[in-house]
Structure formats: C-alpha cells, structure tokens
C-alpha cells in the first residue's frame, strides 16, 4: 500500500487531469464563449408554415448568428405558428419593420430564421412582434406549383396550337 501522501498526490493529479479535460471539452470542442448564454431579449413572429424549423435553430442576420428559436406553438385563433426568438442583447438596433424568413442552410441543411433589416427608425425590443414574415418553402408545394405551371404553359401552347 502506497503511503498516504503519494496517494493524495496521485488523486490530486487525477482531479486536475479531469478539470483540464473539461476545460478542453468546453472551449475547444463545444466553442463555449460564455457560460451564461441565456441573456437577451425575446421577440415573436407569426408564420403560415414553419417547415422543419426546430427549437434552438439559429436566428441569422446577414449570415451572422444573433440568437436562437426558443419556442414554437400554434395560435389557436388563426391557426398560424408563433415562433418565439431570443436575440442577443448586444444586437439591439434591428429596425422594427424588418422581415423574418425561414430559410434552409445549404441543400440538405436545417431550417433557420433569417432577419432582413429595413429602414425603420424605431427598433425591435423585448416583446416586439415581427410583422412581415415569409414562411418556409415546402418542397412538395414547390414541385406541385412547378408541375402546375408546366402543365399550364403546355396547355396554353397546345391550346393556341389547337385553336389554330
């Protein structure tokens, strides 16, 4: 049995190795910039269709992440989706007539909310509602529309031809 001092030293080194690994995991692997990430102000927006949008999806302005989606629920009165978003407190100069759209990251990526700033003079603050929204593009609807348009242009061509 090793002496008590050796044991305590080894245990101390063990604990130190654990803490060091935790720090590496925190900063290098998960990119933790601040532990207290929950500060920010909350705004909402209504969408007809949110597509694949999920909680914790990023909110981006000009491609830069400024917050995340915190809640999604259905408005019982007009059956539209209400998305609650938390915006970083430092980004407090978004004009309140900006629009929010749900876009897809890359070809196969997840959905996120993009905010396009406009030219208003007052800014979004806690509790504001984004008035202008563009819903997500649903692939099936797009294909349906595309086929419908093709059909229409085919018909109009042949129609004209038919009537000649």
């Amino acid at each position: 049995m090793l002496s008590q001092r050796t044991i305590e030293t080894c245990v101390g080194l063990f604990l130190l190795a654990g803490i060091l690994s935790l720090i590496i995991l925190a900063f290098k692997v998960s990119g933790l910039t601040s532990f207290f990430k929950k500060e920010g102000y909350y705004i909402t927006a209504q969408f007809d269709d949110i597509g694949q949008l999920k909680k914790r999806a990023p909110i981006k302005m000009g491609g830069v992440t400024i917050g995340e989606v915190t809640n999604i629920h259905l408005d019982r009165s007009d059956y539209r989706a209400i998305v609650t978003m938390r915006i970083d407190s430092r980004v407090n100069d978004i004009p309140d007539d900006s629009s929010a759209s749900i876009l897809t990251a890359g070809l196969l990526g997840d959905n996120y909310v993009a905010i396009t700033p406009m030219y208003g003079s007052s800014y979004l603050k806690a509790g504001s509602v984004v008035s202008e929204t563009h819903s997500a593009m649903i692939l099936e609807k797009m294909i349906g529309q595309f086929l419908f348009n093709i059909d229409k242009s085919e018909k109009s061509k042949t129609g004209r031809g038919g009537m000649q």
């Binding site: 044991i7 080894c10 190795a17 654990g18 590496i24 692997v29 998960s30």
Partner: protein, 260 residues
C-alpha cells in the same frame, strides 16, 4: 401446478428481499458517510484505487474508439461529400453516448469486479465480522468510502475519455486523412453545445457511477463467503452492471431528448 406457483412466488419474494437489502446498503452507505477527519483519507484511497488505476484502460480505449469512429465515419460521409462533418460526428457520438456508456462498462469490468472480489474476500476471511465485533461499523469504514470513491471517479474518467477520443479522431481525420484542422474544429464547435451535450453526458456518467459502484458493493457484501461464491459474485457484478448501464442509458437519453 401449485408447486410452480409456489416456486414463482418464492422467487418473487426473494427478488424483493434482495432489492430491499441493496436499498438498505445504499441508504446506510450514503446516510452514514465516513466522518471528515478519519474518513477523508479513506475516500482518497478509494478514488486512487478505483479512478487513478483505471486511467490507463480508459485513456487507451478512448483513443482507439475515437480513431475507429473517425475512420468509419469518414468513409461513409465522404460518399455524401460531407467529410467536413467528421468532427461533429465523432464529437457528438462520443460526448452524448459512447463516452458515458463505454467508460461505465470499462469501469464495471475493471473497478467493479475488483471491488466485489475485495469485499467478498473480506467477508470470507471474516474481516468484516471482526470489525463489527470490535465495535467499528464496516459500512462506514469499508463500504461508504468505496461508494463515494466510485461516485467521484466516474465523471472524471468520462471527461478524460471524451477528450482523448476526440483527440484521437483529430489525429485520424486531420493528420492521416488530410481534413482541414480549422474546419474540423469550427464545425465541431458549432454542433456541440456545452449544456445540451457535454453536461448531459456528464450527468449520465454520474448516474452510471452510482449504479455500478452500488451493484459491485452489494454483490460483494452479500456474496457467499466461499471461493466459488466470490467468483460468482464478481461475474454477477459485471453482468448486472453492464445491463443496468445500457438500460439506464436508454431511459436517460429518452428523458433528456424529450426535455426534462
């Protein structure tokens, strides 16, 4: 027919009594912790015996697992042109699942079986009885420090496993397969969330640590005091602990994904 029902009933009651004994053991070990002055050195000794001595197997396994997952992952991802997602793939697999589970399984095999054998041997050579007759509570002196030792060692081992595994993936992905180091780390950082992934993995490892140590101590304490009894108890520790880890992993993951 009656005989079968009686046997089943007896088995059920025995199972219930065993769970009761295990619960009492856990309760006494937690509620009568070793007193600070005399007991803390004992706890340190146990952290050394269970944690520090398991470090080698954990680190080597972590390295190899990280390297293998990276290798396998790369060959599949490259077909979708998504090879830059290798970092997130390995990091999330390890931190969420492989880290806590594999560390717990290895811990059960190495430290758990050692604990059971040690306690079983102490019981067979009447060391625990003589302690009791000398008016020293064997639960406080022997069982409780080992429980705390396992409880503290397991999360630390898991964290070290995670780090070594991700580093192993980095070695394979960047140094060997030629991925870009900057892309590796930045993709990983954007996919891994500290509170959601890393912390929840650590919570899992804390639960696993408690359960594995508890099972090991129970099996040792209640083993038959013969050599056959001790070896059976050691086998049972590894089997029950492994099954519990995998079952609990599912339950905990379901709880975490569904939101607390």
């Amino acid at each position: 027919m009656i005989a079968q029902v009686t046997t089943l009933g007896r088995l059920g009651i025995k199972l219930l009594r065993d769970y009761g004994k295990a619960g009492i053991l856990l309760f006494s070990a937690i509620c009568y912790p070793p007193n600070i002055r005399k007991g803390l050195p004992l706890v340190f000794q146990q952290i050394y015996a269970e944690g520090v001595l398991s470090l080698l197997i954990i680190m080597v396994s972590g390295l190899f697992i990280g390297m293998v997952v990276a290798l396998q992952g790369y060959h599949t991802l490259v077909k979708f042109g998504a090879s830059q997602q290798l970092g997130p793939l390995v990091a999330l697999s390890v931190v969420r699942e492989l880290g806590p589970v594999v560390t717990a399984l290895l811990f059960a095999g190495r430290a758990g079986s050692a604990l059971t054998a040690e306690i079983g041997l102490m019981k067979a050579t009447e060391q625990l009885s003589s302690m009791e007759m000398m008016a020293v509570d064997p639960i406080r002196r022997v069982i409780s420090p080992r429980l705390w030792g396992g409880f503290i060692s397991m999360p630390i081992l898991t964290i070290i496993f995670n780090t070594v595994a991700i580093y192993g993936a980095y070695l394979v992905g960047v140094k060997w397969l030629g991925l870009d180091a900057g892309a590796f780390w930045s993709n990983t950082q954007s996919s891994v969330d500290f509170q959601e992934d890393i912390l929840k993995g650590i919570y899992k490892s804390i639960v696993f640590g408690l359960v594995v140590t508890w099972i090991a101590l129970y099996q040792g304490y209640h083993s038959m005091p013969t050599s056959a009894g001790i070896s059976n108890a050691t086998t049972r520790t590894v089997v029950y602990a492994s099954l519990s880890i995998l079952g609990l992993d599912f339950v905990l993951t379901a709880m975490m994904i569904g939101g607390w």
